[in-house]
Symmetry: C2
Subunit: 228 residues, 2 copies
Amino acid sequence: MITLYDLAVEGDRRPSPFCWRTKFVLKHKGLAWRDEPMGFTEKEKIAFAQSQTVPVIHDGAKVVKDSWAIARHLDEAYPNNPLFADETALSHARFIAGWVDSVVQPALFPILVGDLYDRVRPVDQAYFRESRGKRLGTTDFAAFQKTAREKGVAAFRTVLEPARRVLKEQTFLAGKKPAYPDYALAGSFLWAHIASPLILLEADDPVHAWRERMLDLYDGMGRTAKVA
Amino acid sequence: MITLYDLAVEGDRRPSPFCWRTKFVLKHKGLAWRDEPMGFTEKEKIAFAQSQTVPVIHDGAKVVKDSWAIARHLDEAYPNNPLFADETALSHARFIAGWVDSVVQPALFPILVGDLYDRVRPVDQAYFRESRGKRLGTTDFAAFQKTAREKGVAAFRTVLEPARRVLKEQTFLAGKKPAYPDYALAGSFLWAHIASPLILLEADDPVHAWRERMLDLYDGMGRTAKVA
C-alpha cells in the first residue's frame, strides 16, 4: 500500500497543488493509497524522507519526495496506463509542469494568499505568516491580496492563454484523454478552489469547461473535495 | 516543387519567425522548395491564397496559408519523418506554438522594433510605420525600443523559464531530436538574430546552448542566414 503525505489545513481541507498532481497520477495509474495528513509545521512527519515539503510517498520500502519524481517513480514501478510512454509525452509533461511552476503558480499566489492564510490551522499560522511574509514583504495578507486582485485576476487569465489556445481545439491538454500536463495545471486550480471562493475564470472560457471536466474526473475526486 | 512565399527585408534578409517555422518543417520532412521573396507591401503576390501574411505555400495545385496549417498539411501529404505522429506530439506542438505566439513574440517585439524598422525595405517603411505605430501608439521606434530594453531584455529571459527548465534536462524541447516545438521557438530567435545585433541570452543559459544547436541544424540553415 502506498502512503501519501498530504498537506492539511483547517477542517482537514487539502489544498496543496503538488499533492493534487500526485493524487491525479495515482488515480491515472489505478493505484490505491492511504492519506497521511500533515500540517505546515508537522515537518517531523516527513523527516524520514529528508524533505521539508509534501508530497512525499512511502511505496513499500521506497520513499520518494517531489511530485515530479513521484510521477516518474510510479510510472516506472507500475507500467499500467503509462504517463510517460515515450520521449514526447515526457517532454510535453516537463514543459507544462515547468510552465505551471514558473508562471501559473506565481500568478495565483498573490491573489489567494489572504484566503490561504485564513484557512491555515491556527497552530500553523505563525509559520505561514513568517515564511510567506518574507516572500511578500508584508504580513498583512488580506490587504496584499485585495490590492493584488485589482489587476491580478485579469493577469492570471492572460497567463492561461497558451492553455486556452489548446483547449479551444481539444478536450484535454494531453489530447483526447487527460495526462500529466492536465494534472499539473489542475493541481493549481484545485489549490485555488479549495482555498478561496474567488471566481478565477469567466464562464465562456475554454479553460473553465476544461476545469469542470477535471473536477469530474475519477469519480469527481476534485469536485467532492472539501472547499473554502 | 513547393514554393514558399517568404518575407524579405533590405538586403534580401529573411526575418519572418513564422516563415522560419515553415523552413524548419520543410527540412524536417526532407522536402525541397523554391523561395519567393516578398516585401511587406507586395501583398498582391499572395492574393491568390486569400492571405495578408506569409508564410504561404504553393504545393502543386494546393495552396496553404498560416505556418500551423502548412505544417499540418505537409505532415499529412508527406508521411516521411512525421512531426505529429500521435496526439501527444500534436498537443505538445500546439501548446508550445501557442506559448511562443502569445508570450515569446510579444516579449520580443518591443525590444526589436527599432532594429526591425531600420531593416525594412525603404519602399515598405511607410507601411511598417503605420501598422506597427498603431500597435505601439508611437512611430518613434528607436526611442520606444531603447526604453523597452531597459527592463525588456531581463523580462524576455524570465519569459523563457519554462523552456529553460526543459533544456536543462534534455537536448531539444521535443526530446533527443528536434521537432515542431523547437521550430516554433527557434523561429522567434531567428527573427531576432536576423533583425538585430541585440544580445538576448547569457552565455551560460541552457537556452543559449539550445539556440546554437538550432542554428547549426540542417547544414547550418539558420547560422548561414544573412543577419543584421
